[in-house]
């Protein structure tokens, strides 16, 4: 991270802390040096890197494409890079990869031009850029260096001054002081905690991440989690999960691990849960006022946010909004065609049997808002 950026970040009340021991960091020419444990955290290509080993992993694009992406972005512009890498090989991702409406969950949270926000797992930056237009500062953290670098290039090309990309995410703590963010956003991130921390138990990794987030939030700050539902109708219909398997929600935990070993050679590190378990985990960390929304059709590209604590809203949605839903593009129609048809039939059945209240258990994903 360039000195100017880190000074700007300091001005906004966010200095770096050692992600191992929480000690103060001293900025040297090419690194941040920990006062206490003396670990030297690198500054890679102008970006602070709090990452312990240099391993590339992503379920979106292979490493070679990620490298190409940053190369083209630097030479010809970020839009050109996205086009060249995603347009033909990842059409669905290309459609939504820079759609600022992916950050529409911001309307559910009390964000304003005084807010500082941390985006965990910032990806290629759609949510980060959207938030930067309404917030004072947005720190974007990702454990994939190429993604952070791409965002840094985009930030420079678009002259966005309040985005601060940081490489990290697989350490015990977040590299930030306590009580410094008004909101933390983790879309699809929490379920990857197990992958980022392979040397600890899955639940321990998840708890560590949540606890770090809790500490980084100011009192009264909000956490938004966008996450898939274990019993989501798409998974029940046989959609591949992140581990490459199907019907994981119908199998007991050990069998899930066994299948994962057969498919990918590792144990399953991307568990999803039901609302009750998510609530228990969040409450266990200390969060309160936990509210569940159903971002439909998915938390990646939400068109609707349905509050799950009021069955009348769900009934209204199933009766009135579902039928008139319009797909924005042919690709989107293709992607959600089957899910939409089955959803419509299921909605009719649920309404006729008085089961609208149970729909919340099978929505594809959740948007969870919790308060510190």
């Amino acid at each position: 991270m360039s000195r100017i950026l880190s000074v700007e970040l300091m001005k906004r009340g966010i200095g770096f802390r050692c992600p191992n021991c929480k000690g103060l960091l001293v900025e040297t020419k090419n690194s941040f040096l920990c006062d206490e444990c003396h670990v030297d955290w690198k500054i890679r290509e102008g970006i602070a890197s709090f990452f312990e080993d240099d391993v590339y992993w992503s379920d979106k694009i292979p490493e070679t494409e990620a490298v190409t992406l940053t190369k083209i972005a630097a030479e010809e512009g970020w839009k050109t890079a996205l086009h060249d890498v995603f347009r033909w090989n990842h059409r669905n991702d290309y459609r939504i990869i820079s759609d600022l409406r992916r950050a529409d969950f911001r309307f559910l949270m009390p964000l304003n031009n005084e807010s500082t926000v941390l985006v965990l797992g910032c990806g290629l930056g759609a949510i980060t850029v959207a938030l930067s237009k309404v917030c004072r500062a947005v720190v974007a953290l990702s454990d994939i260096f190429e993604y952070v670098k791409f965002l840094d290039i985009r930030r420079q090309q678009e002259r966005i001054l309040n985005i601060f990309p940081v490489h990290g995410g697989n350490t015990l703590h977040l590299p930030f002081p306590e009580d410094c963010f008004d909101a933390v956003v983790a879309v699809e991130m929490s379920q990857w905690a197990g992958v980022a921390h392979r040397n600890v138990k899955l639940r321990e990794a998840e708890n560590n991440l949540l606890l770090s987030v809790y500490k980084a939030l100011k009192v009264g700050g909000h956490l938004y989690v966008g996450v898939a539902n274990k019993h989501g109708c798409d998974h029940l219909m046989g959609r591949h999960d992140h581990n490459g398997g199907r019907f994981a929600s119908l199998r007991p935990g050990k069998l899930v691990d066994t299948v994962s070993w057969i498919i990918s050679g590792t144990s399953c590190r991307t568990h999803q849960y039901s609302p009750d378990v998510y609530t228990r985990i969040l409450q266990g960390t200390g969060f309160r006022e936990i509210r569940f929304y159903a971002p439909l059709p998915e938390h990646h590209e939400p068109h609707f946010f349905i509050p799950l604590d009021n069955v009348n809203v769900m009934k209204y949605f199933l009766n009135n909004s579902l039928d008139s839903f319009e797909f924005g593009s042919p690709q989107m129609r293709e992607k959600y065609r089957v899910l939409y048809r089955i959803g419509k039939v299921a909605a009719k059945i649920a309404l006729s049997l008085g089961l609208a209240g149970s729909v919340k258990y099978v929505v594809p994903s959740y948007g969870i808002i919790a308060r510190k």
Binding site: T80, L111, N312, S324
Partner: protein, 372 residues
């Protein structure tokens, strides 16, 4: 944000002037709206109500506030100047105010099902449904237009505002064929012909399409007035309705693309074009419009849409909402071609300029022959 809006609504309930006791709590169903719409919408459910009681619109960016202001001003003006029948078909603006530094437009909720075209196996609307929907829409439209019309003298200023400037903008932003440029020049001759005459201008909804028409039995409500104009040329809303009814629905259903449907509707001889021709002719009579100028209005309608789409595209590209497409994947690296949607109305205009006749002209010729 929902908590803040909830508190605001409960606190300011008396200011809203709704005939109902102050609710104790609200639930919010969020809908993201269209890309061009630039707003996020909440449907607010009070206590245990089964239907929303309010619609809360939030601009995505501070610059989008002008759309909400336009909607408020238009609705207030219409409610003050139109008959009871029209007033009851409009949502009631309750408030435009800041809640925690976020602007919100609060309107009364109007119940109704979105008018949805039913298509036959070819992708064209079914005749019975089209007739039924037009029977409901036409009386409202003609009454609305009659009540909001104003007669002006077609002088240099009005020609400049309604014809010359849109045409100049269209020429500037589009690569037009020779035919199209020639046709644009002929439009100027029509205006010269009308110079000094009195011409009817009408209040224009701006996005009058089935999706913005709500039906409750035979009662009609028209929503989304954010791009409305107080004085505009005749037949814009009417062309917009018919075109959207037939073309957008066919395209959304994946039966044919917009251009094909448009050609079938306006440039071919079939039951649909005959039906629309008859409808237009009757409609012009109710508004005392000279059918001689229908083609002129139609051309201006296409130009106006092309300009609007170009403006939308620029805004979206500048915001990074979506990527432009390259001319081809391998070749030109720095030249983008505009999105199909933006080019669509330019291409439709070119079709018109190539000498394709509107069906209504053929009707006029047939009548002339009969008279002779």
């Amino acid at each position: 944000m929902t908590s803040e809006i909830e508190k605001y609504l409960v606190r300011n309930w008396d200011v809203l002037g709704l005939k109902r006791n102050r609710p104790s709590r609200f639930s919010f169903l969020g809908e993201r709206g269209s890309l061009e719409g630039n707003k996020f919408i909440f449907f607010a459910f009070a206590d245990n109500d089964k239907r929303p009681i309010l619609v809360v619109k939030l601009p995505r960016c501070p610059s989008d506030l002008k759309l909400l202001e336009n909607e408020r001003d238009s609705l207030l003006q219409l409610r003050a100047s139109t008959s009871m029948a029209i007033r009851e078909s409009l949502p009631q603006v309750l408030l435009l105010d800041q809640v925690s530094s976020q602007w919100v437009l609060i309107q009364s909720f109007v119940y109704g099902e979105v008018m949805t075209p039913v298509l036959d196996h070819n992708g064209l609307p079914k005749r019975r449904n089209l007739r039924k929907h037009l029977e409901i829409t036409t009386p409202w439209l003609s009454q609305f237009k009659n009540e909001t019309s104003s007669r002006i003298i077609w002088d240099s200023d009005s020609i400049d505002e309604h014809v010359t400037r849109p045409i100049d903008e269209f020429r500037r932003n589009s690569h037009l064929s020779k035919d199209a440029v020639g046709y644009l020049n002929s439009l100027r001759h029509v205006t010269d012909e009308l110079r000094g005459c009195s011409v009817l201008l009408f209040f224009q909804h701006g996005d009058f399409q089935p999706g913005n028409v709500l039906l409750d039995k035979n009662r009609i409500t028209v929503v989304d007035w954010d791009v409305s104009r107080k004085m505009a040329l005749a037949l814009f809303d009417e062309f917009s309705f018919i075109t959207n009814y037939c073309c957008s629905s066919a395209e959304r259903a994946g039966r044919m693309n917009y251009l094909q449907a448009f050609q079938i509707l306006w440039f071919s001889k079939n039951w649909l074009s005959r039906f629309c021709k008859d409808w237009l002719q009757c409609y012009c009579r109710t508004l005392n419009l000279d059918t001689k100028y229908v083609k002129f209005y139609f051309a201006m309608f296409l130009i106006s849409h092309a300009n609007q789409e170009y403006a939308d595209l620029l805004t979206e590209l500048n915001r990074g909402d979506y990527m432009p497409l390259r001319e081809n994947s391998a070749g030109k690296r720095t030249h983008y071609r505009r999105l199909m949607k933006e080019q669509l109305y330019v291409r439709l205009f070119e079709l018109l300029a190539e000498g394709r006749n509107l069906p209504i002209e053929s009707l006029e010729l047939a009548e002339d022959k009969q008279q002779q």
